[in-house]
């Protein structure tokens, strides 16, 4: 009978699955604690900006290093890079004015990269900054890199055709967010935007109308990479950027493969952070998270010298955490990317309700939903623990599992009806389901409203968005409170759309505190930001800090020198090598 054979087919499948299900899960996992705090400052000693970078123990030259990633790198053009993978890959083929010296353990200092120091604040007012360019810098074609090439690179980022990259330098120079109308860029021309000058080949000057003490940090982004005006190919630079770093792009099939090979004109003596260990880097795009990480577990062939860029999925985590053989292949660290439950204070005007939300939150169950401590780590502060000058505090102490009684007491019998906007992909909806069930225990009435995943970000950034709560993420461009608290809570920056202040906090007292701290020497700002963080949470409770993402990645057994970068929380390739 057909029936019997078909049933037999099913039975074989069933048996195979059942056999693998018969082990008891006692919950004993070895998940080593992983906390990291940064002790970072700007290092103005020119010696520290010199190369060559210290050798990595056991590193050797040679071999091909592979990187597996599902989605392509959206931009390779340094002036357009803003994705994490772009920011972490750019240092291989492009250098910027300043760069971070990072040991992956929290020792983080800003040093000069193309410049001899991380900039000189000429009049001590943060308005005029001067950089001296190092000797011996060359592009991949052997041409010397001058201050004019760096200035041209910055000028290029004014071009409205070349969107996507950071806009700090442009906005500060033009003194307006409409920088592309304030000054028009002409390709291959020598004209420079107002305030940017290159008086000679070795000097670059920024003159701002307003003080910008964070310039040395902003100059570490790849948008300050140099480009020879003659070599500017406009939008096509995205597929073939001109290298100034230790590697150059030798093959680029968008969405499939990116090959980087050694750039013979790169001089290690000029570079404080980069190495040139592998002969070649090959990025291969396409394999999804499951596939890439399963390949790392198999650890065979060329995959042995590969990194799976995408985190181990929570569905595979128990397998990886439980396998002691894999522990040498794990790369893990908490990141500076923090998720918070933003409370729209325009709608939820009652402070006690916002405080009750803070008391009610059960971070322990939320983290179980996400996949455990290897996926997320709870936080109670607005700034993530990696921030310079960070201080731990909990404005609404309720333990890991929340204090429902305290929340109910604050609500005093009220049952606030709140709408939680959530992206409609499966992970976000699970988080929303978790939050709803959690908060309803304290007496809230939560409606989960799915918003199409692709537009959720834009819609919550609209001032008059109709939701009370939504989960937001913030990953700063540099680990200073200056790039976290003012963007998130400065009420003067609120516009109709495109807001980062998605809680829509507008408090003049807080705003003037921002101005005061921003005018301080960056080295002294750290503790001040920490105090302000606490004050915002206590006085306004505009959000419920939830967790920071934990990076948990696998690499092959022969991939060496990898570490999780402290600034963006993604793997850094500057020390990478292939083991023998």
């Amino acid at each position: 009978m057909r029936l019997r054979t078909a049933a037999a087919g099913g039975a074989v499948l069933a048996l195979a699955l059942t056999l693998s299900a018969c082990t008891k899960n006692t919950g004993q996992h070895d998940t080593a604690g992983n906390t990291r705090t940064s002790t970072g400052v700007i290092d103005t000693n020119p010696k520290d900006s010199l190369g060559p970078a210290a050798e990595v123990p056991d590193a050797r030259k040679g071999g091909t290093f592979y990187v597996l990633k599902q989605a392509k790198i959206s931009h390779l053009d340094p002036q357009r890079i803003y994705s994490f993978v772009g920011l972490m890959t750019a240092p291989l083929y492009s250098r910027s004015l300043t760069t971070w010296k990072d040991d992956g353990k929290g020792h983080l200092t800003l040093v000069g990269d193309l410049a001899t120091t991380p900039g000189t604040d000429v009049n001590k007012d943060c308005k005029t900054w001067q950089f001296t360019i190092k000797d011996g810098l060359k592009f991949e074609d052997g041409t010397a890199i001058t201050a004019k090439d760096i200035a041209y690179g910055i000028a290029r980022s004014f071009d409205p055709d070349l969107t996507g990259g950071p806009t700090y330098l442009q906005e500060w120079l033009a003194n307006t967010p409409q920088f592309d109308t304030a000054w028009h860029f002409t390709p291959k021309a020598a004209a420079l935007p107002p305030g940017l000058t290159a008086p000679d080949d070795k000097t670059l000057r920024f003159e701002f109308k307003m003080p910008h003490c964070d310039l040395p940090f902003a100059a570490s982004l790849p948008s300050s990479a140099p480009l020879e005006p003659d070599k500017d190919t406009g939008v096509n630079l995205d597929s073939q950027p001109l290298s100034s770093g230790p590697y150059r792009v030798t093959k680029n099939v968008p969405g499939v493969e990116l090959d980087l090979e050694r750039n013979q004109y790169w001089d290690p003596a000029t570079d404080p952070v980069r190495h040139q260990y592998p002969d070649k880097f090959v990025f291969s795009f396409g394999p999804d998270r499951d596939a890439a990480n399963n390949r790392m577990i198999s650890d065979s062939g060329p995959d042995q010298s590969a990194l799976a860029w995408d985190d181990v999925p929570s569905s595979l985590m128990a397998r990886v955490v439980g396998d002691t053989n894999l522990h040498d292949q794990v790369l893990t660290s908490p990141t500076p990317s923090e998720a918070r439950l933003s409370i729209n204070v325009q709608r939820v005007t009652d402070l006690s309700v916002r405080q009750a939300l803070n008391y009610a939150i059960d971070r322990s169950d939320l983290i179980k939903t996400l996949g455990g401590p290897t996926v997320a780590s709870p936080v109670t502060t607005l700034m993530p623990p990696g921030t310079i000058g960070y201080q731990q505090y909990d404005a609404y102490p309720a333990g890991d599992t929340g204090d429902i009684a305290k929340a109910k007491q604050l609500l005093a019998g009220k049952t606030p009806e709140l709408v939680l906007g959530s992206a409609d992909d499966s992970v976000d909806l699970e988080i929303a389901t978790q939050l709803k069930n959690n908060l309803e225990k304290a007496g809230f009435k939560i409606t989960v409203k799915p918003i199409p995943e692709d537009s959720k970000l834009d819609e919550t950034k609209e001032k008059n968005n109709p939701w009370d709560l939504y989960v937001d993420n913030w990953a700063a461009d540099w680990p200073s409170g200056a790039s976290i608290l003012p963007p998130l809570f400065d009420g003067r920056k609120i516009q109709d759309s495109g807001n980062s202040d998605t809680s829509y906090v507008d408090d003049p007292a807080i705003d003037s505190e921002f101005d005061r701290v921003l005018a301080l020497d960056p080295a002294k700002q750290g503790p001040e930001w920490a105090k302000l963080d606490q004050r915002i949470m206590k006085e306004l409770a505009p959000a419920v800090p939830l967790y920071v993402d934990v990076r948990y990645e696998l690499h092959g057994s022969k991939a060496g020198g990898l570490f999780i970068g402290s600034v963006f929380g993604y793997p850094a390739f500057t020390n990478a090598f292939v083991k023998a």
Partner: protein, 328 residues
């Protein structure tokens, strides 16, 4: 015959036009705004509007549509944000991939063809083989096994079977490499190696309909007079089954195969996702998610062309194989 072809082609062109108009309109109804996606942080409304203009997305819809369609036949001049002049056949410039869409298509089309065509040969062969075997050995264990096997396949899901096969054969036993695409022109062995898992999975899942149909056809044909006559004439079994019986049974099979291949070429999103291959389906899918209008238009049109052409080919083949069919 000629009249039929002309009529069919005209109707096909109308279908393609309608598909292009509808997918164009659909794009503008999408919740995703491609411009905000391009300008992730620090972009206010005024700047967004300027980017939109650079990309030509703020022009009147009909103007954008006509511009796009014109580009396919005579080429068009795009501005510097879209890579400058674009020769015919111009499918536009993808502002998400930073390359002309024709480049994207020449890259991803071979992947989809390499998945579908060998898989189709395999599922056709496997299906017809199973069906014939069980027809000739009616009522035996072999018959039951063959039909049971094909029904099992038909009742399973691609992503399910794909995941299990990947886990067992690629990740655990290392019998087959993890699916990847290498051009057949570069290294035919690596090409086959990287796709075999996808072929086998597709064949297993798709062969059922062919097995069922060819079995039924064979059973019916075997009982017809001309087969009995042929057998009586003393023709060898193989000639009778192969030439006479199979020929009569094959017409509807060809029809299904044509339709299936057309549909598969246009929509292998699930296969490509399961096996991590970047083909036409996956590219169309990504384009919709990223709001990449030129790529959406191009992939949708190509898929529609496959389906429409498959339809015509099937009609013509039908007439060629079976002289009883007259095309009007």
């Amino acid at each position: 015959m000629l009249r039929f072809l002309v009529k069919r082609l005209l109707s096909a062109i109308l279908v393609l036009l309608a598909v292009s108009v509808l997918s164009f309109l659909m794009f503008f109804a999408l919740p995703r705004d491609p411009v905000t996606a391009m300008c992730p942080k620090n972009c206010d409304a005024q700047r967004l509007e300027r980017v939109r203009q650079e990309l030509g997305l703020s022009d009147p819809l009909y103007q954008q549509y006509v511009g796009y369609m014109k580009g396919i036949f005579v080429g068009r001049d795009l501005n510097s944000a879209q890579g400058g002049h674009c020769d015919a056949p111009c499918l536009g410039y993808s502002y998400v991939n930073s390359e002309p869409v024709t480049h994207t298509l020449t890259r991803v089309l071979p992947v989809t063809l390499s998945i579908v065509i060998p898989a189709a040969v395999l599922w056709f062969g496997l299906g017809v083989g199973l069906g014939m075997t069980s027809a000739l050995r009616r009522g035996t264990l072999l018959d039951r096994l063959a039909i049971g096997f094909s029904l099992t396949g038909a009742s399973l899901q691609l992503y399910f079977v794909g995941a299990v096969l990947l886990l067992v054969f690629s990740y655990t036993l290392h019998v087959v490499p993890v699916p990847h695409y290498t051009s057949i022109l570069v290294d035919p062995l690596r090409w086959a190696d990287g796709l075999v898992l996808a072929w086998v999975t597709l064949a297993f899942l798709f062969c059922a309909i062919y097995a069922r149909l060819s079995r039924a056809q064979m059973v019916e044909t075997l009982s017809e007079d001309f087969v009995r006559t042929a057998r009586a004439k003393g023709l060898p079994r193989s000639t009778v089954y192969g030439r006479h019986a199979l020929r009569a049974a094959i017409t509807p099979l060809i029809t299904i195969a044509g339709m299936d291949v057309g549909a598969a070429l246009g929509g292998t999103v699930v296969t490509e996702t399961t096996f991590g291959l970047q083909g036409l389906g996956r590219t169309a899918w990504d384009a919709v998610r990223e709001g990449d209008l030129p790529t959406i238009m191009a992939t949708v049109l190509i898929a529609a062309v496959f389906i429409v052409v498959a339809n015509i080919v099937v009609d013509v083949l039908y007439a060629a194989i079976d002289p009883r069919v007259r095309l009007r």
